[in-house]
């Protein structure tokens, strides 16, 4: 995948700063937390840290394959799309993420535009 690197991309951490398989929380000055995931195969994904079901912190869930199980009620979310696995229905917001070498970059601008309505409860 080629990503056009603009000034919106921000380096957030190194790959090894994320437990494997696991997640870290990205805390932002304004706007919701973002969950940054790392799979056993070292792929990296990011989602707004809210389960579409009842708002559970996905960053606290168990990561397996390219999915995460929400810690509150066990909904399973696809990391690549943010969609809940059937028969559950719902979608967590995706956040663009990109790796250069071992550095992880996130494009928050992509969600600040759309995520204005997503506020902490």
């Amino acid at each position: 995948m080629t990503v056009k690197m603009t000034e919106d991309w921000i380096r957030v951490c190194a790959l090894d700063d994320i437990p494997v398989p696991g997640a870290r929380v990205l805390r932002r000055p304004a706007g919701p937390d973002v969950a940054l995931f790392r799979t056993a195969a070292d792929r990296v994904f990011a989602l707004v840290d809210r389960c579409p079901h009842k708002g559970g912190a996905l960053s606290q869930g168990m990561v397996f394959g390219e999915r995460v199980a929400c810690p509150l009620h066990g909904w399973v979310i696809e990391l690549a799309t943010g969609s809940a696995v059937a028969p559950d229905e719902g979608c967590a917001m995706r956040v663009p993420v990109h790796m250069i070498g071992d550095d992880v970059f996130v494009d928050f601008a992509a969600i600040t535009v759309r995520a204005t309505s997503v506020v902490e409860p």
């Binding site: 919106d8 921000i10 957030v12 951490c13 700063d17 994320i18 437990p19 494997v20 398989p21 696991g22 870290r24 929380v25 990205l26 805390r27 932002r28 000055p29 937390d33 973002v34 940054l36 056993a40 195969a41 009842k54 708002g55 559970g56 912190a57 606290q60 869930g61 168990m62 990561v63 397996f64 394959g65 999915r67 199980a69 810690p71 509150l72 009620h73 066990g74 399973v76 028969p87 996130v106 928050f108 601008a109 600040t112 409860p121």
Partner: protein, 811 residues
């Protein structure tokens, strides 16, 4: 790359179910073509009776729409019957010249109704009852004629009779045997059934043989002649005298058949390229005519078609339930009672209730229920498990209701519930939603219902009720959860098999175990990873390394996650005894970290609710108290009463005993949470009767009770042993818990563990075998010796500190 071709002959429930199972595990493997003789997609044949009775529409019973085939790239030839298998050229052919080549062929040709070899059987208006076309023909005939005769008083015949009666016809059932459904019911139940159907206006002629179908002036059927010479006028005759496996195609192709296409335990015919499933097969000499066994076959067959090669079909125990609204009837196993069996019978003919349970050597081998079938799912499970029921034999007849479940208002009769009544109190699912999901989504198992409705997926206390609703909705076609359930969807292996492999092959890591046991997923799922992690640690203490990333967040963060993603903190308070110093520190922590809520727990401790995850390490440090493990599948509390030190009734120092137990057992992980209590006298103020281990002091020593439960399933602890000393209490309690740790299944509480293995077994290992008991206790002490407190030795306890530090970003 060219994909191998799989051709399915028979577009019915067994064949398509096999495809569904196959697509689940190997979606891309085959290029699939399906031939079906009927011009319809796969539909639920079982629900033809409600369609006939006017309770459902044809559209309601389609299981797989045309879209389903299309979206999965399956070529469907509906309405095209295969007439020849060319085994030499690996192809199947229809009469119109269509053919398809196969690499693997799956036969699911079902069964055909038995025709009577008597004059007039080919007259217009003489029908069988098997498919949509038959149902249409019956509905047409019911509009033209007022009288119908059904030949055969078995399951199918009675459903047909009931349906035609509901359509306004006068129905007479002619039956050869002395009572109805003689293969499923004994005489008493058969008579009760007859009486209730007679009350609906159906007429029965028993012990009569049909000798001729008489044509009327229009050349169609007009009457049925019986052996005694009498005649029954009828403009419609339904033949329901039995079914026969449809083997014509297979036999013509030279496949070995013997009252069915003969298949092995892997559902292969004598030609290894050709598989067969469903009503057309003969497996170990048995041909099945109900849907539950077909689904079990489908699962095994799909597994072999997917080249995984795991699983054998070893036959099924079947049950029957009549799908006639308002008639409650269930039968399974040997319900007549062969030699060597004994029966427990409840008979209330006036009240319309009859129940017979047949036992052999204290194991349930058959059941026949009429009028009250609430417990049919439970009896069927006992029957399939073959468990020794001696302990509850005297209560067996009264059903599962007295076992105590919480969460649904004590409601335990699915049939009596209205659609808007809540079944699952955890997820707020009402009966109507479950019935709707079962009917609309074509669900057959409790797992299906859990996935689609969430009912029974949390605490599980309503599982029995959901099973009843399944049975009620599906009749005999409800598929009971298999006795040996796999750990999760990632594997075919059961908990028992996984534990055994880890022990016997000295497996030490999750990756190793998954590889050795041929896990289907690269790194498991949220269900199997914690189970494997626990099995490795409990089997190989000091050798296997803990994997925190395979633990639920609570055990990773060493605190309990709350609904708003804050955490709660419960410090350990030994035996419920605290001090001014500890309370002061707790108060200071509450102020310093702005803990919004402080609550006294049921386990004599203090819960600090609403802590931020970032604050947890500092809170632990400031508390200066050990972890309470309130978040873990581990030893939680040891609840005590004040005991002989203060209490005027106390006979033993229960507080000291409780503290000794807690100090010996803390940091003990287990298949599920473990709670203890110690009371100083039989007044039992510490409520030891509902704990995993409950110790009660008496004048001469201590009574030890085990496997009690105060949660989802209230269960009174069972007496294990009486001992004299402190040290013996530790040894017996420890040995019992180590047995549970070594042989329990992940997420199985002690109440379920003891129910599964039997209290006798536990006594044999813990009470009778002194050396074995000491060895168990020793192994537990070895496992716990030097274990780190995660709150105060986080590095040694492998607590990942990164989780407490969010990464601050600028945008």
């Amino acid at each position: 790359m060219r994909r191998p071709k799989l051709v399915l002959v028979g577009n019915g429930m067994a064949g398509v179910r096999t495809l569904e199972e196959l697509l689940k595990i190997a979606p891309e493997l085959y290029d699939i073509t399906v031939f079906g003789a009927e011009p319809h997609p796969n539909y639920n044949r079982i629900l033809l009776s409600p369609v006939l009775a006017g309770e459902q529409m044809l559209d309601d019973i389609v299981l797989n729409s045309y879209d389903w085939y299309r979206s999965r790239g399956i070529t469907l030839h509906a309405g095209r019957a295969i007439t020849r298998i060319d085994r030499a050229r690996h192809r199947v052919e229809t009469n119109d010249g269509t053919f398809a080549e196969y690499d693997r062929l799956l036969l699911a040709t079902g069964s055909t109704p038995v025709m009577l070899p008597i004059p007039g059987a080919d007259l217009g208006g003489v029908l069988t009852y098997r498919d949509i076309a038959d149902t249409h023909a019956m509905l047409d005939a019911s509009r033209q004629s007022r009288r119908a005769a059904v030949i055969g008083g078995g399951l199918l015949g009675l459903e047909a009779a009931n349906g035609l009666k509901a359509r306004g016809m006068d129905v007479t059932v002619v039956h050869l045997a002395p009572w109805l459904m003689e293969r499923q019911l004994d005489q008493t139940a058969g008579r009760l059934l007859q009486r209730s159907l007679e009350a609906r206006g159906i007429v029965f002629l028993l012990e009569r043989q049909t000798t001729e179908f008489i044509a009327g002036d229009d050349g169609r059927i007009s009457a049925v002649r019986l052996q005694d010479g009498s005649t029954v006028p009828a403009g419609l005759v339904v033949l329901a005298v039995g079914i026969r496996p449809n083997t014509a195609l297979a036999e013509a192709a030279g496949l070995h058949c013997n009252r069915g296409i003969v298949v092995s335990d892997t559902l292969q015919t004598f030609d290894p390229r050709i598989y067969a499933v469903g009503e057309c097969v003969s497996h170990r000499g048995v041909a099945y005519g109900l849907v539950a066994p077909l689904f079990e076959m489908a699962k095994v067959c799909a597994n072999h078609l997917a080249r995984l090669g795991i699983g054998r079909y070893a036959g099924s125990v079947t049950s029957a339930k009549l799908k006639v609204t308002g008639v409650e009837l269930f039968s399974a196993g040997d319900h007549i009672g062969a030699a060597g069996t004994d029966s427990i019978v409840l008979s209330d003919p006036v009240g319309g209730v009859y129940k017979k349970l047949v036992l052999r050597d204290n194991r349930l081998v058959g059941a026949c229920l009429y009028g009250d079938t609430v417990d049919s799912a439970w009896y069927f499970r006992l029957l399939r498990d073959g468990r020794d029921v001696a302990p509850e034999r005297d209560r067996l007849m009264f059903g599962e209701a007295n076992l105590g479940d919480a969460g649904h208002l004590g409601q335990n009769r699915a049939a009596a519930m209205s659609d808007d009544m809540e079944v699952c109190g955890c997820n707020g699912v009402c009966k109507g939603a479950i019935v709707k999901a079962i009917e609309e989504k074509g669900l057959f198992t409790i797992e299906d219902v859990r996935r689609h409705t969430k009912a029974s997926s949390s605490c599980g206390s309503c599982t029995g009720l959901v099973e009843q609703i399944l049975m009620l909705t599906l009749g005999g076609d409800y598929s009971v959860a298999p006795k040996q359930k796999p750990v999760c969807g990632c594997t075919e292996r059961t908990h028992a098999e996984v534990r055994q492999a880890i022990r016997e092959h000295h497996l030490l890591t999750i990756a190793e175990a998954m590889h050795f046991l041929e896990w289907r997923t690269p790194n498991g799922c949220a269900a199997c990873r914690p189970a494997l992690n626990y099995y490795l640690l409990s089997t190989w203490p000091k050798e296997a390394r803990d994997d925190p990333q395979s633990r639920f967040v609570n055990e990773r963060a060493h605190a309990n996650i709350q609904k708003d993603s804050t955490f709660s903190v419960v410090p350990r308070i030994w035996g419920g005894v605290t001090s001014a110093d500890e309370l002061r520190r707790i108060a200071d922590v509450v102020d310093k970290y702005r803990i919004p809520s402080v609550k006294i727990t049921g386990g004599q401790r203090i819960d600090l609710l609403g802590a931020k995850k970032e604050d947890l390490p500092a809170i632990w440090r400031d508390l200066g108290m050990p972890s309470g493990h309130a978040y873990a599948k581990a030893l939680r509390t040891v609840k005590t009463c004040v005991g002989s030190e203060w209490c005027r009734f106390g006979t033993q120092d229960s507080t000291r005993m409780g503290q000794a137990l807690e100090r010996a057992l803390w940091r003990m992980y287990a298949p599920h949470k473990v709670k203890l209590a110690v009371s100083g006298c039989p007044r039992n103020c510490a409520e030891a009767g509902i704990k995993d281990v409950g110790v009660i002091g008496v004048e001469s020593g201590w009574e030890i009770h085990v496997a009690g439960n105060g949660g989802t399933k209230t269960a009174v602890a069972q007496f294990l042993a009486k001992v004299a000393t402190h040290d013996e209490v530790l040894e017996y309690a420890g040995a019992f818990l180590q047995l549970y740790r070594e042989e329990g299944w992940y997420l199985e509480r002690t109440v379920h563990f003891v129910e599964r293995v039997g209290l006798d077994y536990v006594k044999k290992r813990v009470v009778d075998d002194a050396d074995g008991r000491r060895a168990l206790w020793e192994r537990l002490r070895f496992a716990l010796d030097g274990e780190a407190d995660p709150w105060h030795e986080p590095q040694r306890a492998a607590v990942d500190a990164r989780q407490f530090e969010p990464i601050a970003t600028e945008a």
